[in-house]
Symmetry: C2
Subunit: 324 residues, 2 copies
């Protein structure tokens, strides 16, 4: 893929629970012509139409694109190109997303889950460029990981590897919808941070910034918590510190199991400034000094908010490379 | 290696903290002519002499063996054939064990750490035969894992992958010598089980079987706890259950991260009957029903007490295969 003529364009489509982001990837991973539309949940037909419309807008009548990479939040079977189930999209049955998008757009389509896509994007263009053994952890609404071993995505025997959100870090911790207790995702995800703050404010915790939101009847989100922490709110800063501590435990566990060259931390919660990465580093210093002194071990994702779209494009490039 | 003439013999040497076990491996992994001597700790020179003497006794003047495989408890650099450090052996400095044993015996020697050796043995002859993606967890004095990905040992970027003993499962748990808190090894290793029981009895816990030992001034070991549990001692049974629960958390975490075809549970604590595996299965049922119903996921090591020696022989076979 030389990316020099319109027919060589590479599109990335990032399908999240709330929005679909799309764009054209340049050869260095930079994204242009970004488009964002709300995600039609519970409705695969409408989602396919929305994505097809985005593709049409991006290619503006040109013959391309050469390929469309899609990252979707959910359990993806890459071999068959299906989204098996997606709680986030409200899909309870398998959807042959790759085949349907290919038929609708007339272009080659490649599909993976959004976190694997992020890992591929960081590996090709970002903080893990050219490294063999890398764990990419995405902390957003949920928490997941994309694992690169020998420079290739490691998917596990059934395609379910990297479910770091369900790594137990507090065996007697709060229950998780998965049936277990103390999973990382119920302690340190964006959803957990928002829920923890909401419950604390309702319970009388002192936080001028967040109390004001709660009085408005607005649900408190992780974004609010990080904004309040940036503004100096003591409760919010404490919650960011605790979130960083849980994530530090996860990072140490991943290093002890995978001994990677790098752990890359990305996802929505890292796009709100460097508070979270700083909190993780701080906790690493207390828990694993041997790790904390190695600045290479934990690095923030380099593609930032473009990780999703660039990662989706990287899925297509990776698939084309494998085919070649 | 055809293993048909004396010169084709394959020896396995398992160097543990308390004993060195050695034997001749048949082509099916069965071990004959087992020999066991105490480990001379803190003294690499004497250890080399002890191993050389074992090799001499096993080959009885024959021209072989074709190769000697060695599994050693400690941090092993397989590329250079060194034991980097070994707390268990009391070695604080690197020991060029492979080169020294090769020079002393005149045979090709291959070295890995004992847990990786166990994983290779189970993969070649045991409970993980011919499977691609496997995690072998050894629960003995300490806890470690050998990880097979695509049928090959995965060592990580710096050779330190599989340190499952330092996976945190209880973020506010007891301190670990590694500097962290709540590591699996301080909760569920043989050493932890013995120490927990000793402290509990000293603190007045009711356990007729273990109290008798404590009165004798004998240090309570994990073996004592499992024997007491087998005999129906309620305190000991509870401790085995708790140990199984910690290990179940570890198994779920490993499955969520690696999605392996199989998790194999071996090591000294599994050689005392099936109490521990039963306790792990029991806790899996409560924490991860989706896993507990798949009998393939958690299986006991098939080589049992021979895992160490057979695993060491598998290290040699694996190395010969890679060279060929």
């Amino acid at each position: 893929v030389s990316l020099t003529s319109p027919a060589d364009l590479l599109l990335g489509i990032d399908i999240g629970a709330t929005k679909i982001a799309a764009g054209i990837a340049a050869g260095d991973g930079r994204i242009r012509d970004r488009l964002v539309v709300p995600t039609p949940r519970h409705d695969p037909d409408r989602l396919v139409e929305e994505v097809a419309a985005l593709v049409e807008r991006l290619r503006r009548g040109a013959a391309g694109p050469a390929a469309i990479g899609v990252g979707a939040c959910g359990r993806v079977k890459t071999a068959s190109g299906e989204v098996n189930t997606s709680l986030a999209l409200g899909w309870r049955h398998p959807v042959a997303l790759r085949a349907r998008l290919a038929a609708r757009t007339g272009c080659p389509v490649f599909l993976d889950n959004d976190v694997n896509a992020g890992a591929l994007g960081e590996h090709r263009w970002g903080a893990a460029r050219d490294l063999a053994d890398v764990v990419y952890v995405s902390v957003g609404t949920g928490i997941g990981a994309g694992i690169l071993i020998g420079g290739r995505l490691y998917r596990g025997a059934g395609g379910a590897a990297g479910e770091v959100g369900h790594m137990v870090v507090d065996a007697d911790g709060p229950p998780c919808p998965c049936g277990n207790r103390g999973c990382l995702e119920v302690l340190a995800s964006g959803q957990a941070v928002g829920a923890t703050a909401s419950a604390a404010i309702a319970g009388g915790a002192a936080s001028p910034a967040l109390e004001a939101l709660a009085r408005d009847g607005t649900a408190i989100t992780a974004r609010d918590v990080f904004a309040a922490a940036s503004g100096g709110d003591a409760y919010a800063r404490g919650l960011v510190q605790r979130t960083g501590e849980w994530l530090a435990v996860a990072v140490v566990n991943l290093v002890n199991l995978f001994d990677p060259q790098r752990v890359v931390l990305g996802g929505g919660l890292t796009h709100t400034g460097d508070l979270l990465v700083a909190a993780v580093r701080d906790a690493l210093g207390r828990r694993a000094g041997w790790l904390a002194t190695d600045p290479k071990v934990l690095v923030p994702a380099a593609l930032g908010p473009d990780t999703g779209v660039a990662g989706a494009a990287a899925v297509a490039l990776d698939a084309l490379r494998t085919q070649a």
